[in-house]
């Protein structure tokens, strides 16, 4: 029988799933993914996690519990760093320990550390470590890694072109309402787990797309542009997400086709508490493009959230018409 590896549908799932899936399947394992986030998963997470944790970590706990008795192993890598000289967040670095010491009766956890802060070569070591736990030979691991990196690159290409990770992963082809209004270009900044988990963000992306919005996410901006912009910061940004968000914000200032910027953050997120503020300052100081921060937590009501989102879109549209008027008369 094939070994069954459980992958929780939380945190970096929408960033790396295609890579992880290919890797494990190449090694002959079977993959089980937890269900889509729902009330039950959220509740399980909230109940089993310390109160102070941020929503995405609580949701992750829920996903772990959803899988716990269905798999042979849980894959919860210690994601210290996925890019040179950068970190993700202390909670990612401590995630397997948090899970192991808060939840009991879990299957063994593959908690290999992935730390590419000093060198990208560590990825191979990490892959070897995972492979050895599954008793795979080195050659097979090397091959699986190559193949999974290819799958990953392909996935990122698709995302860059405008496909949303959940659509690719779940093989959905969204049917969108025909635009009834002028199409707005709205840039959405946020962590992958806030942007692409429809339950967490209360279907925000769908709502936007059905409201004649052309979505642009951080993942669709060219990495080179982001890096170039981020390098102009006074101090090097040491968070992976922070660099992307700041680089994107600075890039917005160079463009005149962005009609509005939405920053989605989770309540209690340490990284967002700083980055959202810095992004807002950068944008507001130099531009008058409409900007809004939407905060989500386990208590946010959908009605209030929708109202804020709609008000924002109305404002953007009003502004557009107004400007169009001015220019046609002027």
């Amino acid at each position: 029988m094939k070994t069954k590896i459980g992958i929780p549908r939380g945190l970096f799932f929408y960033q790396y799933y295609p890579l992880w899936k290919t890797f494990f399947e190449e090694l002959g394992a079977e993959i089980a993914v937890s269900g889509h986030t729902n009330r039950r998963i959220l509740d399980m997470g909230v109940k089993s996690c310390v109160d102070e944790a941020c929503l995405p970590v609580k949701v992750f706990f829920g996903h772990v519990l959803d899988l716990a008795d269905k798999v042979d192993y849980l894959f919860i890598p210690r994601l210290t760093s996925v890019s040179r000289k950068e970190y993700i967040c202390p909670k990612f670095g401590g995630l397997p320990d948090m899970v192991r010491h808060s939840l009991y009766g879990l299957p063994p956890i593959i908690d290999t550390e992935i730390n590419l802060r000093k060198s990208g070569k560590n990825l191979l070591n990490a892959a070897m470590d995972v492979g050895s736990r599954l008793n795979c030979d080195k050659k097979a691991v090397r091959r699986a890694l190559e193949k999974s990196l290819r799958a990953y690159r392909e996935f990122r290409e698709q995302v860059k072109k405008g496909a949303l990770p959940p659509d690719i992963i779940d093989k959905r082809f969204p049917v969108l309402k025909k635009p009834s209004d002028r199409i707005l270009n709205i840039l959405v900044i946020g962590h992958v787990y806030n942007l692409y988990d429809n339950y967490i963000n209360m279907d925000m992306l769908k709502k936007l797309r059905n409201n004649s919005v052309n979505l642009i996410t951080v993942d669709m901006i060219d990495g080179c542009i982001i890096d170039e912009k981020a390098q102009t910061l006074n101090k090097k940004m040491f968070w992976y997400f922070g660099r992307k968000a700041m680089g994107t914000a600075l890039h917005v200032l160079d463009r005149n086709d962005i009609d509005g910027v939405i920053y989605v953050m989770s309540f209690g997120c340490g990284v967002d508490s700083f980055i959202s503020d810095l992004v807002e300052k950068k944008i507001r100081r130099k531009s008058d493009v409409p900007f809004i921060i939407l905060t989500i937590d386990e208590h946010s009501g959908e009605a209030g959230f929708n109202t804020r989102l709609e008000a924002f879109l109305d404002m953007v549209r009003w502004r557009y018409r107004h400007e169009a008027d001015v220019s046609s008369h002027g």
């Binding site: 909670k91 670095g93 397997p96 320990d97 948090m98 010491h101 006074n234 340490g270 300052k281």
Partner: protein
């Protein structure tokens, strides 16, 4: 240029020694932490961590007293502290307090940039003098921490309640009246002597509690409602591994000189937290294990709301509590924390530790506590 710097417990003593010796002009922000927090909260992002807000309040008040440049230390992640400098710079600019921020850290741009920053503070002093001032300031930090440790020991043992606090307060105020590391060190010596001469109960066997958690809220007793003094007054001996001098020696000097560091805590933490994840989470976990092994009665974890590394630590602590039988109380501080509720929890915890100890002793001695009373212990 007039410098200022953030408060954190007794750090002002070390920084004062350093800046006096360097001949720099500076302003020490007012000591009222609550007021600083209130001011900072008005201008900082709502979910920023508490130390940032207090720092900001300090800078604003210092600016009003003439300071134009902020001196702080930095880092390169993964926790928020490394980006405090940029946050301060940006916020101060936006609210109309345009202060320059000098960050003492190893900059991305290397040695030259670092020396430039030091030059800014020290002016034309030569490198030997600067190093000497740094060495003396480090020594001050070490001595102040020793002094504090002595207070931890004496408070639950003093015969006349409040003696230690009075001497300690007197010392903290006295530092402001003298100038330079040499005079500060003399004052420390004198305070040591005064403290050593007070009357103590040699037979006292106070409860022992270790304090762990985020560095600011544990070192700065005022932020945590003077927890150290209060525990002392409740007859509890406190201990804390994380100190200012420890931070200077372990994190700055030994790192810069590539000397082997004291990593007992990391070894102790290993079974529970397998990596350095930022902030002091590894210290929190490791030191809790060390306290358990050293027979302490309890551990108190303190951290500011939303502190990322300590949230990880908090999730792990129950496992240590269970494995090693070490009671842990977690206290979380933010601008809304009410003193009354906080104290109730603290007192209940100390009560619990006291009962636990009595129960254990009862098991060990096989004597009933009321029997002992009857035989004239009271």
């Amino acid at each position: 240029m007039k410098l200022t710097f953030p408060h954190m417990g007794n750090t002002y003593i070390t920084v004062k020694a350093l800046l006096d010796d360097l001949g720099a002009d500076y302003v020490i922000p007012p000591f009222n932490i609550r007021e600083a927090l209130e001011t900072g909260t008005r201008f900082a992002p709502e979910m920023a961590c508490l130390p940032l807000k207090i720092n900001l309040g300090n800078f604003i008040r210092a600016y009003e007293k003439g300071a134009d440049t902020v001196l702080i230390t930095g880092g390169c992640g993964p926790c928020r502290f490394g980006y405090y400098c940029e946050m301060h710079r940006e916020i101060l600019r936006d609210i109309g307090y345009p202060m320059d921020v000098i960050t003492l850290e190893w900059p991305d741009k290397g040695l030259k940039e670092f020396l430039d920053r030091v030059r800014k503070i020290a002016g034309s002093l030569n490198i030997c003098k600067i190093l000497k001032a740094a060495k003396n300031a480090t020594d001050v930090a070490i001595k102040v921490d020793e002094l504090e440790r002595l207070c931890f020991y004496l408070r639950p043992r003093e015969k006349k309640a409040g003696t230690v606090d009075k001497i300690y307060k007197h010392f903290r105020a006295g530092v402001l009246q003298v100038k330079g590391s040499r005079n500060i060190r003399r004052l420390i010596r004198e305070t040591f002597e005064t403290l050593q001469s007070i009357e103590v109960d040699e037979n006292a066997r106070p409860l022992k509690v270790g304090i762990v958690g985020e560095i600011y809220t544990t070192i700065d007793s005022q932020t945590s409602f003077n927890i150290q003094e209060r525990l002392g007054a409740m007859g509890v001996e406190v201990h804390r591994y994380v100190t200012v001098s420890g931070w200077i020696v372990e994190h700055m000097i030994k790192k810069a000189l590539h000397l082997p560091r004291d990593i007992r805590y990391a070894k102790a933490a290993a079974p529970y937290l397998g990596a350095m994840i930022g902030g002091h989470a590894q210290e929190t976990i490791g030191n809790t294990v060390l306290y358990a092994n050293a027979g302490y009665d309890g551990v108190i974890q303190i951290y500011p709301l939303t502190c990322m590394p300590e949230i990880v630590a908090e999730s792990i602590l129950p496992a240590i509590e269970r494995d090693l039988g070490m009671p842990v109380l977690t206290l979380i501080i933010d601008e809304m924390t009410g003193e009354a509720g906080y104290m109730t929890r603290l007192e209940a915890f100390i009560d619990l530790l006291q009962k636990r100890r009595e129960a254990r002793e009862f098991e060990r001695k096989g004597a009933l506590p009321w029997n002992r009373c009857r035989f004239g212990e009271h």
